[in-house]
Subunit: 398 residues, 2 copies
């Protein structure tokens, strides 16, 4: 996988007219640039430099303890090992390559492209002192956004597999969930299914799955509580797994019937239909070149036009090795999203679509699908939820 991603990175440097991409890492076990897993694939101990040139050259400068590991991995044309300081090796390569633009991994907007620590940045400046290279440094945000965004066939296969397993588990929730169960108990049931499959959760296990039962409103991302599922509640689950390091991130919504009910009350049905329609409208507008801001506006606008409060977050984010994979976002133009909602969408990017609606006195309805942008539009990676799932009131957990 690293060689495939390195080749992709070199193509991207050409597209973006960037001569050199410089990845910097140290003590990868403590804190590590997230792109290390894509284009380096080994842990670094001392301050280390990985140079990828537009012309296709690949060089590593590492501490002498790591030299065998990197040479054996065989991903770099040269592996220079230092004992005292990396300065000489770094300057020698820079002088020879003479890059006009050197991309380094910082980004106020995007965590996935912000893998350079401030201390390592200061070390870089110190090493480049009395040269004119500091004036050539630019952000690698564009390189990383494209690199993580453009999923290869193998990456898409893994993402589809993760979606399928998640939906299989969701398919059994309707029978496992019983009135009287707490959010925590239902979450534990899902965790047990996941562990039986030998899979990791897609994000921090304390809120993966997140289970929220009504009737009150609750923020997203919360851990499940002792709050109990009761007839007349809406409950929703946010969950994902990792398959071969790639994540799913999907939400589904259920309603627990009250005695005598055959279906959810009209106000619940109506809210849920508005939610699904907002997903369909957004999905239909997805295509390469569209802006995430406009896609978000379509879903958000529909929900508000139907008299519901807008969701307090973005419509969707990219998914890959991380559940929040960074780069272009389907998001409003809020300050905290920086320039990400304005980045044009590209073929082979994978996004979630995840609006939410609070239905007063019942709970929060959320559905989250995963889609891939295609040449002509988009395709679902997940089989979409088409109707509100119902839990029968008769069977009680206690």
């Amino acid at each position: 996988m690293e060689k495939e991603k390195i080749a992709q990175a070199i193509d991207i440097l050409g597209e973006l007219d960037i001569d050199l991409w410089l990845v910097i890492d140290r003590e990868s076990g403590i804190i590590s640039d997230p792109v290390m897993d894509y284009v380096v694939g080994c842990h670094a101990t001392w301050l280390s430099f990985f140079l990828f040139s537009r012309s296709g050259e690949k060089h590593a400068i590492i501490g002498n303890l790591d030299v065998e590991t990197f040479r054996r991995a065989g991903r770099f044309d040269t592996v220079s090992a230092y004992k005292g300081s990396p300065r000489e090796d770094l300057l020698r390569l820079l002088r020879r390559l003479d890059p006009r633009k050197i991309a380094i991994d910082y980004s106020p907007d995007c965590a996935a492209a912000d893998g350079l620590t401030h201390g390592n940045y200061l070390s870089l400046l110190e090493l480049l002192k009395d040269t004119d290279y500091p004036g050539r440094l630019i952000s690698a945000e564009g390189v990383i956004a494209k690199l993580r965004g453009r999923k290869s066939a193998e990456e898409l296969r893994r993402l589809r597999a993760a979606c399928k397993i998640t939906l299989d588990i969701y398919g059994r929730v309707g029978r496992a969930a019983k009135p009287g169960m707490s959010e925590k108990e239902l979450a534990a049931w899902i965790t047990a299914r996941r562990e039986k499959l030998g899979l990791k959760s897609a994000w921090d296990v304390s809120s993966c799955p997140a289970v929220f039962s009504g009737p009150q409103e609750v923020g997203a991302h919360s851990a499940p509580t002792g709050n109990v599922l009761k007839p007349g509640h809406i409950f929703n689950i946010d969950f994902g797994v990792k398959v071969d390091k790639y994540c799913s991130d999907l939400q589904r919504t259920w309603y627990i019937l009250r005695p005598g009910e055959k279906q959810a009350p009209p106000e619940v049905q109506r809210g849920f239909t508005v939610l699904l329609d907002s997903i369909r409208l957004a999905f239909a507008a997805l295509k390469p070149g569209a802006r995430g801001l406009d896609i978000d506006t379509i879903a958000r606008g529909h929900i508000v036009s139907q008299g519901y409060e807008e969701y307090p977050h973005a419509l969707g984010h990219q998914v890959g090795r991380d559940a929040h994979d960074g780069g272009a976002l389907l998001a409003p133009a809020w300050e905290r999203y920086g320039g990400l909602p304005l980045m044009p969408l590209e073929k082979d990017q994978v996004f979630t679509i995840e609006p939410r609606i609070y239905i007063k006195d019942y709970g929060v309805a959320t559905v989250e699908e995963m889609v891939v942008i295609t040449a002509a539009g988009a395709e679902y990676l997940s089989q979409p939820q088409q109707e509100l799932y119902l839990v029968k009131p008769g069977r009680s957990a206690r």
Copy 2:
């Protein structure tokens, strides 16, 4: 554990005359400040700020999606949730606390204290624009070094437990290792023992355990290879486990007897004895207030005085939640170690002592012990290796 470490952090701010410690994180699942596990204990999604004041106040400023998680965790006096920008909440707290010195997590010298990404640093400067707070920013390196370094009784208990399990596994290597086995096969045997205990490896599993068999010299940190253990070889193993998130990091050395040999040849014995003596001499000099540089010089000097080449790395590093836990080092004054070898040692810090000697034509002898600094000197956390372990030649793996 977080509350204990927060209380410790507030004491340390007083000792160091620092008014405020500001921890900054976002998308913790992608890249996260290592101190988050010590003093926050929850994942942050949007750009988030955690303020710890010398006077004992603790405040969190987070994105609105995370608010339930942080309020429930109950570690902060106030939890402010924002939707658009954190600026107003941050400036309001800074104006009220009016800190003269604000420590933030960057450090060219120490990865464990370098959890602030450069992009988040730029975002901080943007949020503080037109104020005089940027001029009050200093490095939190000293705070984090003391916080991670000073092990509580509970932390020491976990470290001792991790050492014991590692030594139990080492105790069985002498019978499991057979001439004809490859380094990889022996590593797989150790990994199977670890997995049977349900424990994680202390560092990246590709080189934990590292197994190196002679007769040639090999760098540390390498992954095990197909190189085969043969009579007349020295082999060594570098391995550790995590117990309740705390690491061991220990090395042991074996010699494989040739037919007719009852003990290792004199030149192997001699090298191994010099190695153990260098550890004993260094251990005897450990005490609060000593400098790591001087401890390293004792061991390094002894080895060189006996005619061996000096080891190409530090004598020892701290151990805790990470195998390389950062802060003061037992190291020479090489540029790459920055000021760490000059930091005075403190009571309750845990260090490795790990010299190495190449014994020509046989292989690399390494022993790594773990010790804790006490009021009067130091104590071993690991039962030290006292003699070269021997593997009998008779039993072959094939």
